[in-house]
Symmetry: C2
Subunit: 184 residues, 2 copies
Amino acid sequence: MQKLRIAVDMDEVIADMHGAKLAWLTERFGYEWKEHLLVGKNVRDLIDPAHAAALDEHLHLGEFFGDLQIIDGSVEALRELNARHDLFITTAAMEFPLSLRHKWDWLRRNMPFLDPLNIVFCGRKDIVCADFLIDDSPRHFERFIGQGILFSAPHNALETRYPRLASWNDAAHVLTELSSRRQS
Amino acid sequence: MQKLRIAVDMDEVIADMHGAKLAWLTERFGYEWKEHLLVGKNVRDLIDPAHAAALDEHLHLGEFFGDLQIIDGSVEALRELNARHDLFITTAAMEFPLSLRHKWDWLRRNMPFLDPLNIVFCGRKDIVCADFLIDDSPRHFERFIGQGILFSAPHNALETRYPRLASWNDAAHVLTELSSRRQS
């Protein structure tokens, strides 16, 4: 396979933002989560608006982003992709500017093999110039110059417009297939 | 003129990094600067390596980036470009990660008309997808997908490979001309 430029999102793709939000809401407000109720929904649409505001306030402090768990298999998959391809991390950070430093620390600590010059903190992702963008938010694909690949998360379970990566174990296979389709 | 995607660098293009470095070196180590000696040179090549290391240490603290003066005419020119085009700020921040927050504050304070979602903190700028990139460092143009425009600074005075913006007063004129050349 030729060398590809691959951009990978951070929250809910390599860093478990979703799980941390659910845990915080449970600890703070006592929510219990039923998996089937999260399908196709954003968490904030399922909770009291005052609790959503409290969550936002907490996110704005920034530290939340430095403590996220790693999404299963992402370290191994990204190490592999980084060795074969031109890998970038492209993460929307401008909504929570105090997250910048913590996202940086998270990446350096958990993915030390990534070249810091290949880290991109942005807002709109149509500014990203890459062959593939692996992201959990389909809105980023609408004006993206390359091929979007949806990383599966409960909130995007009903989205059908884009190829999908269900777990990091499938990454090499999915990229090989999509890449050969693009060339033919 | 059709709507263009224009990416603009920060240090030495809208924020006076160069002037601030010279002033810091003068204050700290007593340097006196002769303009003609700076032509085609990076400041760090003209100073004692121990002083360059002290400057780097100071830059790593990050606050330096929040106090930079505005480059002449940049606020007015960017306000105008932002009204007519799709304007992004694309700044290399990964060498000094503690600068991130201060660069953010600088942009919000001095260019409040910019959409925060159009701010990009990156390292390599070939990840930027735009029609034009206005930057003082020609190395960023080598693999850039669009047309690089060199913003004049003493260190790039001898560079001849790219069209040049000598001051922000010429921005509308230069962009109109380059844009019509690209379409024909």
